[in-house]
């Protein structure tokens, strides 16, 4: 027997459903508006000159090649430093540490560290790396600041993927007489390499989007340098360049062009993360 729904109840249902649709439309519209507006204003200004030259005050042209290079340098430098430390810490916490209290303390610290506003990292980076370690305002100082910012991300994602490696794998290897480090290196790490890669991709995303911490530590010069020289000198990444061009020089066309590039990169990174996740599921499910 189907009970009859009262009139007010039916209205109520309809209203709620309408509200849900409304929020859906709002979210989609806002996203679409953001993306389309940025692309619409930015893409027409992405020219070969913009991509492949450096800014020239004599010719009054602006190019972002130095900023692109700086971004690549800082991503590489950050990952090279943060990966061994983050993965190493995760391995220690998951495979070696026996004291639960200390492990929980470190996990809590990492969690907290990843919630701190990035401008605070910039402030500390400026005092510690730029001044105290006398690296000066440089990409290296910026990269080291980003290392601290991304350490928790890398550590936590690695730890999570280490936890998904079944205990039976480790037991199987131990039962063949393999030592602890060999078990970790040959059985555990290869199984969770996707998790580590996902952590890297997330970190790259954060590095790309970072501006506050880098303004303090890496500065905003636009010179073309090689990798080593580049790390030693000040330089703007794309996001910092966007900030500089928009807020200090009023070059909104350039800012939107950079924004379009960053947006496309972000989409690529999101897709890559999703792909990695699926790959991991597929491999674990087999």
């Amino acid at each position: 027997m189907i009970e009859r729904i009262s009139g007010t109840r039916r209205t109520w249902c309809t209203v709620m459903k309408a509200l849900c649709y409304l929020s859906l439309i709002l979210v989609t519209a806002l996203t679409a508006f953001m993306i389309l507006y940025v692309l619409f204003r930015g893409v027409p200004h992405i020219t070969p000159q913009l991509l492949f030259t450096k800014p020239s005050t004599l010719r009054h042209t602006i190019g972002i090649l130095p900023d692109i290079l700086n971004t690549i340098y800082i991503v590489i430098a950050t990952l090279v430093v943060v990966l061994p430390i983050g993965v190493g810490a995760a391995i220690y916490l998951n495979e070696y540490a026996t004291n639960r209290k200390i492990v929980e303390l470190i996990e809590f610290a990492a969690e907290t560290l990843s919630g701190i506003p990035s401008i605070i990292y910039g402030l500390v980076g400026m005092l510690v790396f730029v001044q105290f370690c006398s690296l000066g305002t440089s990409l290296m100082a910026g990269a080291l600041t980003l290392v601290i910012m991304n350490l928790p991300t890398i550590m936590r994602t690695t730890q999570e993927s280490l936890k998904t490696v079944p205990e039976s794998y480790r037991e199987g290897a131990f039962a063949l007489g393999a030592g602890k480090w060999r078990v970790i290196r040959t059985v555990v790490l290869p199984t969770c390499v996707n998790g580590i890669v996902t952590g890297c991709i997330l970190s790259i995303g954060r590095i790309l989007s970072e501006s506050a911490a880098l303004l303090f530590t890496a500065g905003f010069a636009h010179n073309i340098n090689g990798f080593i020289d580049g790390l030693g000198s000040a330089g703007a990444t794309l996001t910092v360049a966007l900030y500089v061009y928009a807020s200090e020089r009023g070059e909104f066309d350039i800012a939107f062009a950079i924004a379009s590039i960053l947006m496309v990169l972000t989409v690529i990174i999101n897709l890559l993360t999703g792909y990695m996740g699926r790959l991991m599921k597929r491999r674990n499910g087999q």
Binding site: E171, G172, F174, L176, T191
Partner: protein, 250 residues
Amino acid sequence: MTIIETKDLDLWYGSMQALKKINLSMEEKSITALIGPSGCGKSTFLRTLNRMNDLVPGVRIEGQVIYNGEDIFSPKVDVNGLRYEVGMVFQKPNPFMMSIYDNIAYGPRTHGIKSKVKLDEIVEKALVDASLFDEVKDRLRKSALGLSGGQQQRLCIARALAVQPKVLLMDEPTSALDPISTAKIEELAMSLCDRYTIIIVTHNMQQALRIAHKTAFFLLGEVIEYDTTERIFSNPSDSRTEDYVTGRFG
């Protein structure tokens, strides 16, 4: 000749005693079955023999396990060396996320064998011994995770055989398998016992009866009776053993 002997072996998980004064001696090149109701300590006992319990936090062991005349808990003993000689096959097949070949070569490589020719030879021999070779010879470089459950279990046996252990510990190796795979593994165990000593935990009375020379009946962490399989099943001296093997409890 006795190859493994335990003397007054006690084991505690924290404050819970899981093994009580176990005195068993296993003959070289024979099959010993361990039977008993769930939770009576069979796996715990088996894992003590190659010190896999070292990996479990909070385990305390007293008494002795004599392997080849040496106490395996003496500080001089190299645990990894012990595990080379006393291999193990687990209840759930646990092939590594590698190719079939690399799975089997894992032990020998850990052992320091690098020569490709030698590894090829070992891998083939192990697969033949585990009667898996014909089924996988064309896909040695493919992932081991693509094999069926029964094949995976035989792969794990081959992986254990590849380091040429003296003793093979098997913890319910067929409980996750279908009858045909089970029969294959039983056949395998019988064909291996002229070269290896096999100690097998099983919940399947028929299996113990079919393959084991001697059988030990465990109950609540104690060995109630240890005798030839024939006697355990036809003429046990303890009434609890009789109740268990005739299926009256457990």
